[in-house]
């Protein structure tokens, strides 16, 4: 990673140059060091599936995976993500067909306006991988970092339970 010179006298903004790996693609970027992963994904890479809900780490709408773990991309500086594997909603499913969890959200109506949905799905995928979808109460607890103001929670839980059940049956 290369950083530009920052000098308070000439008010030059510090820039970072590095490679971001998102959904298996490599992007060479030069960005303001203050830029969050969220803003770089949305404003620079055009990956607007990840949503800005609060920009304060309080709502979960911006949830993405970094090295397989869920993080809040609004609280993560883009420059921290060099050499790390970023997955966003655009990387879920195989392009032609949706991921079973996306289908389950659709079938169970686990969203209304849809704005928080990419974050909910990224959280739910991580939750399933973490083995934290064992019961409805467990899902509720571990999905509580993702606010849905439309109030689709009950259907979100049903969707996750369906996929967790299908995975369990497949084992």
């Amino acid at each position: 990673m290369a950083f530009g010179v920052s000098s308070p006298t000439d008010q030059q903004v510090s820039q970072a140059e590095f490679t971001l790996r998102v959904n298996g693609e490599e992007y060479a970027v030069r960005v303001d060091t203050r830029a969050t992963l969220l803003d770089v994904l949305r404003d620079r890479l055009g990956l607007t599936g990840t949503k800005k809900g609060c920009d304060q780490g309080a709502c979960g709408a911006c949830t993405v995976h970094v090295d397989g773990k869920r993080v809040l991309s609004c609280l993560t500086l883009a420059a921290q993500c060099q050499d790390r594997r970023v997955t966003t909603i655009e990387g879920v499913g195989d392009g032609a067909s949706p991921h079973p969890l996306q289908s389950a959200f659709l079938q169970h109506d686990g969203f209304q306006c849809g704005y928080c949905t990419p974050g909910q799905i990224m959280s739910a995928l991580a939750l399933l991988n973490e083995g934290r979808a064992g019961s409805a109460d467990e899902i509720r607890e571990y999905m509580s970092g993702n606010i849905c103001r439309c109030g689709a929670y009950q259907n979100i839980v049903s969707a996750i339970q369906q996929v967790a059940g299908d995975r369990g049956a497949a084992l």
Binding site: D109, Q112, C113, G114, Y115, E141, Q154
Partner: protein
């Protein structure tokens, strides 16, 4: 989910037609959009509650990296205030003078190359003020009072006589706090001018209003403005007004000559796009010892901003709620130095119903009567204020079916008499009659030679399921498979539609779609009715019905011809018809058009040592007339229920004394329900298709929320014996 009625009441529970886009993150919300050369704008808010700007030093901001422009009242130039809307005055035009009416009022807008640069430079705008004392309290004697602000105060009989004739009178006062809409999608405007036309992508629930208002603000002809809002990240009322930031973004674009995007920050969402204003209500109920109401007296005081008349008819809900010969409802507003309030899901109704339904519960306790029985005895079988029969009313079925689903008969009447392990258990009930609303609306329907159809109206999808139910309705009215129908929403170039608000969109747009499709079918038939080669030769509109992608003679399905065939033979690629529908007045209808009715049953569990309080179960039974899509409708009700839990237990915007600054203006500090706060909720629909409009719907966008908070408050009383007369009810009140 269960239902009492047949398939004609409940439409197919289809998945959301736009759902695949939403689960893939591909639905374009306004803040997802970018245009070449686009700049980013960040608004700067005042840091005082009342006074004047004595000076602005924008030099540091203007010379900060990337900054293109800093707009203040000193250089913004004149803007017109948009005209009065059906919901009252428009918010004041921004940056027109040095007067500060509330903390957080936009005093400058910084426009820069990037969001980071604009955010940084916004902190460098130095504003100095002359302070005045802010008026912030509802009871402040200096606050101007507006009486009967919306002309909806109601009076019948003689309340004093009714109270004198009562065996029992309850006289109670209830307080509600500032709640904020806070949809997950921050309100966003992206504005650009192309060839003299102002093009706006916006988070709005009312593209048609936005269109006329923005045109007025910039003194432009209507054809020089377009509003586009195909996807909006929720609203709950926040998108019902043309906020100052919309105008400011368009101004910034005009000033810089480039596209500009402005996204309200989450803290700004607490001050720049409305809230449910705090209020104080007094209820007097009189009843005979056998539980017949003799008087209802309801007065409400809510807050509004200094230069606003926010539509919040609160006491009004009591006028038509119960069959009581004597009733008086009176609303007042107090002008305060607060941000402009606005409708929030169930405006007026949610707060008015809260006070009324708590008071009814208190009356039941005084009477020693089951609160369900008290409500049944006073059921308003005709509209008590208009004296007309309701277009439909299944309030009784809501109450009785809800009691059965919930297991109300297991309730023991005494407070603190039920337990689940160590937890105190309480059962609470509220009844709801939601005010009817429908407005004039237009729609346009097109069938094409390939056998598909496109129907549109300028209403908006905000998560309400509008795309889906209107596709289903259009398919039914044209006799097409739903896969062959596309519905367009959210663009001001489409036929004019009212707001996604007041629970009126489905009936308004649906009635217009009904008319557009009826005309289109007539126009298609006219192409072949005089053609001897057509199986429909000689048919009049009354002779035909739609089906299988075309028209057929009633009673003779072999005499059928497809739209594709008819258009093809006529050499037409498509055929279009426009329809408009205006609701009739009650006296013309000979009946009182009914909004939705509902019964809300809630179980709470309270830890007797810690005061910890949870909603354990909620059952909602709704008479929403015809339900176009059972899945969408159930989601509306459970979503509303979640909002009601927020209102009842969690949500309160706390303001600093002196300035009115919202001290908890983040989603971490203003507590909204999260997944773990929400129990399993059961929803059922009862009733019949409503005859007041051609499609039989009522409107259910708000009734899901209304009644939950009083049902919770009543359940808390039943669990603990503590009657809390303010919202939200928090654990410290139960210790």
């Amino acid at each position: 989910m269960t239902t009492l009625s047949g398939p004609q009441l409940l439409g197919a529970a289809r998945d959301r037609v736009e759902g695949p886009l939403k689960v893939a993150g591909r639905a374009p919300y306004p803040n997802d959009l970018s245009y070449p050369g686009m700049l980013h704008a960040v608004a700067v808010g005042s840091t005082i509650g009342a006074g004047r700007i004595s000076g602005i030093d924008a030099s540091a901001a203007e010379s900060a990296p990337g900054v293109i422009s800093v707009l203040t009242h000193l250089n913004a130039g004149p803007l017109r205030r948009a005209p009065v809307t059906p919901l009252g005055v428009s918010p004041p035009a921004p940056l027109q003078d040095d007067v500060i009416h509330h903390y957080g009022q936009h005093v400058a807008v910084v426009v820069a190359q990037t969001f980071e640069e604009a955010t940084e430079a916004a902190t460098l705008v130095h504003v100095s003020y002359t302070h005045e004392e802010a008026i912030l309290d509802l009871d402040d004697p200096r606050a101007e009072r507006r009486t009967n602000p919306w002309g909806r105060d109601a009076q019948r009989g003689d309340v004093a006589q009714g109270l004198a004739a009562a065996d029992i009178v309850v006289d109670r006062t209830y307080l509600t706090r500032d709640n904020t809409n806070n949809p997950m999608g921050p309100l966003t405007t992206v504005a650009r001018w192309e060839d003299g036309v102002l093009l706006i992508n916006n988070s709005t629930q009312w593209a048609t209003l936005e269109h006329t208002s923005v045109a007025a603000a910039f003194d432009l002809p209507l054809e020089a403005v377009n509003i586009s809002a195909p996807y909006v990240g929720g609203g709950f009322g926040a998108g019902l007004r043309v906020w100052p930031h919309v105008v400011l973004t368009a101004l910034a674009s005009r000033t810089t000559g480039r596209p500009v995007k402005l996204v309200l920050t989450r803290p700004q969402m607490f001050t720049a796009c409305g809230h449910r204003p705090k209020g104080k209500q007094r209820l007097l109920l009189g009843a005979t010892s056998d539980g017949m109401l003799t008087a209802i007296d309801h007065e409400a005081l809510t807050a509004t901003a200094m230069d606003d008349d926010n539509f919040e008819p609160t006491a009004t809900v009591s006028a038509a709620a119960y069959a009581c010969p004597n009733a008086s409802t009176r609303d007042q507003q107090a002008r305060l130095n607060i941000p402009v309030p606005n409708s929030m899901r169930g405006p007026g109704a949610a707060t008015g119903n809260y006070a009324l339904e708590c008071a009814v519960d208190e009356l039941a306790v005084e009477l020693g009567m089951d609160p369900l029985e008290l409500r049944l005895r006073n059921d308003a079988t005709t509209h008590p204020q208009l004296g007309l029969p309701w277009s439909s009313r299944a309030m009784r079925e809501c109450l009785l079916h809800g009691a059965e689903l919930f297991g109300w008969s297991r309730r023991t009447p005494e407070a603190r008499s039920m337990r689940d392990g160590d937890m105190l258990v309480g059962y609470g009930l509220a009844a709801v009659g939601y005010p009817w609303f429908r407005a004039r609306c237009a729609a346009r329907a097109t069938v094409r030679q390939d056998g598909t159809a496109y129907v549109c109206s300028a209403g908006t999808e905000i998560g309400n399921g509008a795309y889906t139910v209107f596709v289903q309705l259009s398919a039914e009215l044209l006799g097409l498979d739903v896969e062959r129908v596309t519905f367009g929403l959210g663009d001001s170039s489409m036929p004019a539609a009212p707001q996604t608000g007041g629970s009126g969109l489905t009936s308004s747009v649906g009635s217009a779609v009904h008319e557009a499709c009826r005309r289109l079918v007539g126009d298609v038939l006219a192409l072949v009715a005089e053609d001897p080669d057509s199986p429909l030769y000689g048919c009049s509109p009354e002779d035909v019905e739609v089906g299988e992608g075309g028209l057929r003679r009633r009673g003779d399905p072999t005499r059928w011809e497809s739209y594709a065939g008819i258009l093809g033979r006529g050499g037409l690629s498509e055929l279009t018809a426009t329809g408009e529908s205006t609701p009739a007045k009650p006296q013309e209808l000979g009946m009182a058009p009914a909004g939705a009715f509902g019964a809300k049953y809630v179980e709470v569990q309270v830890d007797p040592d810690l005061g910890r309080l949870r909603v354990a179960r909620a059952v909602s039974v709704i008479d929403g007339g015809r339900i176009l899509n059972e899945k969408m409708a159930e989601s509306q009700i459970i979503g509303g229920t979640v909002g009601g839990i927020g209102m009842g237990l969690l949500e309160e915007a706390v303001s600093d004394a002196g300035t009115g600054r919202v001290a908890n203006a983040t989603l971490g500090d203003y507590i909204v329900p999260v997944n773990a706060d929400v129990p399993d909720m059961q929803v059922a629909f009862v009733g019949v298709p409503d005859p007041a409009n051609p499609i039989g719907t009522k409107g259910i966008g708000e009734i899901g929320l209304v009644g939950i908070a009083p049902a919770i408050a009543n359940a808390v009383y039943h669990a603990t014996g503590r009657r809390i007369r303010s919202l939200p009810i928090t654990l410290d009140m139960l210790l």
